[in-house]
Symmetry: C2
Subunit: 397 residues, 2 copies
């Protein structure tokens, strides 16, 4: 009567959803302030004042039809020129407005890219740990997701494992740096080695292999740690960007895809992006927000809260006896669970009302994710509980 | 290298697009004011002041995270309650918030509905003349679009032709009233006959047949002409609504799907809707606009310009010698072309810089569409040109 696949996708509770509902139930019992919810990647830094002001100015000063009318499908041409110029200034690239396609956030940007590229039998590679929705997005366009096991020492790329995953069916490789859930940033050395290997494989297979660079966390990089702009290293790169985290606008759905001139057959790729956006019924990215991000191009993200939270949480967990790669960006830590079964570990953490997500959900069993885009004070109060939780295990050591 | 199908969908110029580009070229040659562009369904009535004010108030007064944060996938629960209540007050229905699923406009609402329902081999029926994107949307989810020929006397339903199209493979019937492109509104008698026939066929085939009621023009009905609320006549109805035309917000992408309790297996259908929205990566409908339409629930659309334009254009065309069904709503006329080949007719109209869309694009050869959501003054100046165009043909009579 309905599509069983859609029904399943719409009703099967994700782990995060189940944790969220547990949290709501417990909050009703013991009070909101006694629940330590580290499960959600919902930015807690308020939308910058300059974003609010830009939206207010546009609504107050511009003709309504110029604000709320349809834009052409790739987005307002002036806004795309401004954004391209801003990217060029920041990263030394050479894009024009025609290289950008505005989208309803990164989820749309990714799925549009997958759908544009995917042909019968194509494989898309993700590096564990990875954002779980990649699987849903890739499979929904008819592709197969191939997962490269994690390199847990530093969450860079395990190249030996990666090379085994590359086949003539590989259409694209998903890069997500700064990474959800590990907080790692791929170093320039990693990007160079990755792109050199892919260039060789393109020659060997005789067809393009794309990098799809998923960059919602680009601005959230600590200690001036550089986040290489992948198009400068590799021609067949599509960049998927979102303002959800950088300007704390996740509900408004605004972002873009960059299709560089240098991709093999720009016209084909950009045309297929437009077709994919059409059938996924992203008529145009929300028009007010196109104008807002145009006015705010190049303005800085406020990452001070994430810096502070990340440091405090990392140091606290290490002091409590956890093993964890030091975060370089985004707003997640991905420590080793204190027992092999990460689900069992996260269940035990619930005893202290610590809500954590098992690493298995990210393709990386034996770990867990801690999202620290929450109040600093909540982290302070949670640290003694992490200590108690660790002590349960370490007392056996 | 890319999906050829996506490339084709993204680059093949639609007739309307080709006309639009011709218009831009001619405007550069003879001046904007000498181009009479009746090709686009882009509302020209400004967004109501109360909508602008609601957006300004929300931005000024509310916590940014409450405005711009993710909402749950079906949309803000409070807003859905308000909208359900408003529908109930206007149409005597009995919906709650849980019956609504907010979407990025009607295009998303339709495609989500098609994708939620579509199983292998399913057919979706549209009545000519119909919005051309239906074909793209239905085929993109794997369905087959079956077209019932038009009943050109009044653009109600040709039931003899319709009955021949119904088969055990029929999953749903698309109703679009007030209609794009004919301007017709299905009378209560039409809706009753349609739903009685479908109820019989449901019994005969032993499975539900859905009505998908595509209602972006619901508020644009002239002379108090009633637009029956289809859920009151037929249980298996999904309503797809949009604020694009009623509040002139097409660029912002905001609308909803109504899934009544009465559909066969509400949980299955609503769950499949959620799954389809997820794989089409409509994470949530744009969050600011969810709040805005909540605050503006039940406020009236200003249709006075469309009333005036429609009357003037209809009377002018009739006086010039055209045959045309009198419009009851929306902002289109769909007159008979003055030669059998509607493409040739629209080409000839270009001589007068009258930009019209051939009826073949809407599944109805021999007709043409005139969109009158433009300046009244443009219509006034265009009428003598329509007269000259008609005279070219009628002088042969």
């Amino acid at each position: 009567m309905v599509s069983e696949k859609m029904y399943e996708l719409g009703t099967k509770k994700s782990t995060i959803r189940t944790i969220f509902e547990f949290g709501r139930k417990r909050a009703a019992e013991v009070g909101e302030e006694n629940i330590f919810d580290f499960s959600l990647g919902n930015p807690n830094v308020p939308t910058p004042e300059f974003v609010r002001q830009a939206a207010m100015d546009i609504l107050a000063d511009m003709e309504p039809s110029a604000v709320h009318g349809y834009t052409i499908a790739p987005g307002n041409p002036e806004v795309r020129e401004i954004l391209a110029k801003s990217i060029n200034e920041r990263f030394g690239t050479n894009f024009a407005g025609k290289n950008l396609f505005l989208t309803a956030g990164a989820a749309a940007a990714l799925t549009i890219s997958f759908k544009a590229l995917c042909e019968e039998g194509d494989e898309f590679i993700a590096f564990a740990p990875f954002f779980p929705e990649y699987r849903c997005f890739v499979e929904s366009v008819g592709g197969k997701l191939v997962v490269v096991p994690a390199q847990p020492e530093d969450f860079q790329i395990d190249f030996a494992a990666f090379e085994k995953c590359l086949t003539p069916r590989t259409k694209a490789v998903i890069v997500n740096s700064p990474n959800n859930p590990s907080g790692a940033i791929y170093s320039e050395a990693t990007i160079e080695r990755l792109t050199e290997l892919l260039a060789l494989k393109e020659k060997e297979y005789g067809h393009p292999i794309f990098i799809i660079s998923d960059e919602p966390y680009r601005e959230i990089a600590f200690d001036g740690y550089p986040v290489p702009y992948v198009t400068k290293y590799y021609a067949n790169t599509l960049v998927c960007y979102s303002y959800s985290k950088s300007f704390s606008l996740p509900g408004e759905r605004i972002g873009y895809i960059v299709v560089p001139d240098e991709v093999s057959d720009f016209g084909k790729v950009y045309g297929a992006v437009a077709g994919a956006a059409r059938v996924l019924t992203h008529v145009n990215a929300p028009s007010l927000w196109q104008l807002v991000v145009g006015r705010c191009a190049g303005k800085p993200s406020d990452i001070s809260t994430y810096v502070k939270n990340g440091q405090m949480l990392y140091q606290g967990l290490i002091a409590a006896g956890f093993t964890c790669v030091k975060p370089q960006g985004a707003f997640y830590l991905f420590p080793k669970a204190l027992e092999a079964d990460d689900y069992a570990f996260c269940e035990r953490a619930k005893k202290y009302d610590l809500l954590l997500v098992p690493g298995t959900d990210f393709g990386c069993p034996g770990y867990f994710r801690v999202a620290y885009c929450i109040k600093t004070e909540t982290i302070e109060r949670a640290l003694p509980l992490f200590k108690k939780l660790a002590a349960e295990y370490l007392s056996f050591a």
